[in-house]
Symmetry: none
DNA sequence: ATGGTATTTGCGGTTTTCTGCAATTTTTTT
DNA sequence: AAAAAAATTGCAGAAAACCGCAAATACCAT
């Protein structure tokens, strides 16, 4: 294993678990403790991670020194992302919205996976480009500055021409009565089309957005196939949704 | 086995496995270690792969554009970028290609400037999004993984519908005889359209690419309005171009 | 075809980098 | 406070990179 490969491997592990143990890395990469230590030292020197006794931590946690709120929601999104990537199979065409949860998912993709992603989100696109085996199709159009995605008439008409296997939506509000709701009219239109363009629809959200709603409806619950949160699937909060026929992960 | 063949072989292996070992290549291609090393060096210099101890890795491993060797060219690109932004006026519609020089320009934009950018480049788009007053329109389509821009039929037909005030092109080769040339067929088509879609065309390149050429022509010199390099405008190397009627900055 | 030019290639010797080992120091844990 | 785990340091063998040179090869114009 080459030095740079090891570095990439370490960073990947770090993106996945937010922490690595030197011991673990030794056995995983089949090198001596010293080599691992030196790798960690190099990466730490380059500001890519934080070295601690016995291993290293991901930067994303220390970037904002003391914001426990961010800390937990990020951690939760990571959990969601890890559940989500398991749904993706080789050769699939996957349509995705924007949002931090989606970006997190892009970072969790196993490197061998061969998938074609279709998205109008620039931050997500940037992540997909890092992946060695992912193909990428961009939905063009005028960018909404606040959500960093394309969502104008052109983008919507493009989505209409697509038939994807899977659609991942990061959502902002969901409840039994109103289904999925949003506060941005353009985003709503876009997501509606995305749902229509995909065989299966997967919604991802942190649990605090469960049982909330916003002005505009994106879709009814019955159009959703899978709902992913950071909670355990048999958590009480999720019962109403699984009762409504959604496969809860 | 000829040099070009070997290069092609190496790139092929790299696309397949994302990594190659010098030793392996020696035996596969039946040449000495030095030759392999020189091949790797050439390809690395051309930005086609990342050379590491013991072999090379596919570009998808690279996360850091500022890695050692590219330091100087980065400095030059900053100089170019600063000259370029001076050409942009409030209210303009600006079409841009991809490439590191363009990204550098995006970083140099004065914050008060109100401009609409139109691009198919994801890295450039990400930068434009950081700008407080820039609007952004994305040209959609399938992404070329190596250049990280959209350049398929769809993207080209979109560009054809545009009338921009200014077009910034990061170029890979320019000389008096062949004009602007490229080595990627799709990129060539895209840039051709971009030139046609703009009132004024600005080309940017580091001086080491002056007086070089590549397989496919993007445009004749006369279609270019402005040429920007890191050199002083009255440098001798630039004289042929200003003589050809180009405004040299 | 041919001869000259320029490029490319392989080799020997040297320098640099990488990696694992052992001894020592620091940190953590009990 | 002592024991255990991890970090640091120096070192040495091996592998790889680098440099200059001479031979071989490809290229070009005649």
């Amino acid at each position: 294993m080459l030095k740079k490969e090891r570095h990439a491997f370490i960073m990947h592990q770090l993106n996945l678990h937010n922490k690595v143990l030197s011991n673990n890395l030794c056995t995983d990469m089949q090198v001596s403790e010293d080599t691992v230590r030196r790798d960690l030292h190099d990466l730490s020197f380059g500001g890519k991670l934080i070295k601690v006794h016995g291993g290293a931590l991901s930067l994303s946690f220390s970037e904002v020194p003391f914001s426990s709120e961010k800390f937990y929601s990020h951690k939760n999104k990571k959990v969601i992302a890890e559940k989500a990537v398991k749904l993706i199979r080789n050769g699939m065409f996957v349509l995705t919205s924007g949002g931090t949860t989606i970006v997190e998912m892009a970072r969790c993709l196993p490197p061998q996976l061969k998938v074609t992603f279709i998205t109008g989100s620039i931050p997500a696109a940037k992540e997909y480009l890092m992946h060695p085996n992912a193909e990428l199709i961009i939905i063009g159009g005028k960018i909404l500055k606040d959500s960093k995605i394309t969502a104008d008439a052109e983008a919507i008409s493009k989505v209409r021409q697509i038939n994807a296997d899977l659609c991942f939506l990061g959502i902002n509000a969901i409840d039994i009565a109103h289904g999925i709701t949003e506060n941005d009219w353009n985003v709503v239109q876009m997501k509606k089309e995305m749902i229509g363009a995909s065989t299966k629809v997967v919604c991802m959200t942190i649990s605090e957005k469960l049982d909330t709603f916003q002005p505009f409806q994106v879709s009814e619950l019955k159009q959703i196939d899978v709902l992913i949160t950071e909670l355990n699937p048999d958590d009480n909060k999720l019962k109403p949704y699984s009762d409504a026929g959604i496969y809860v992960l």
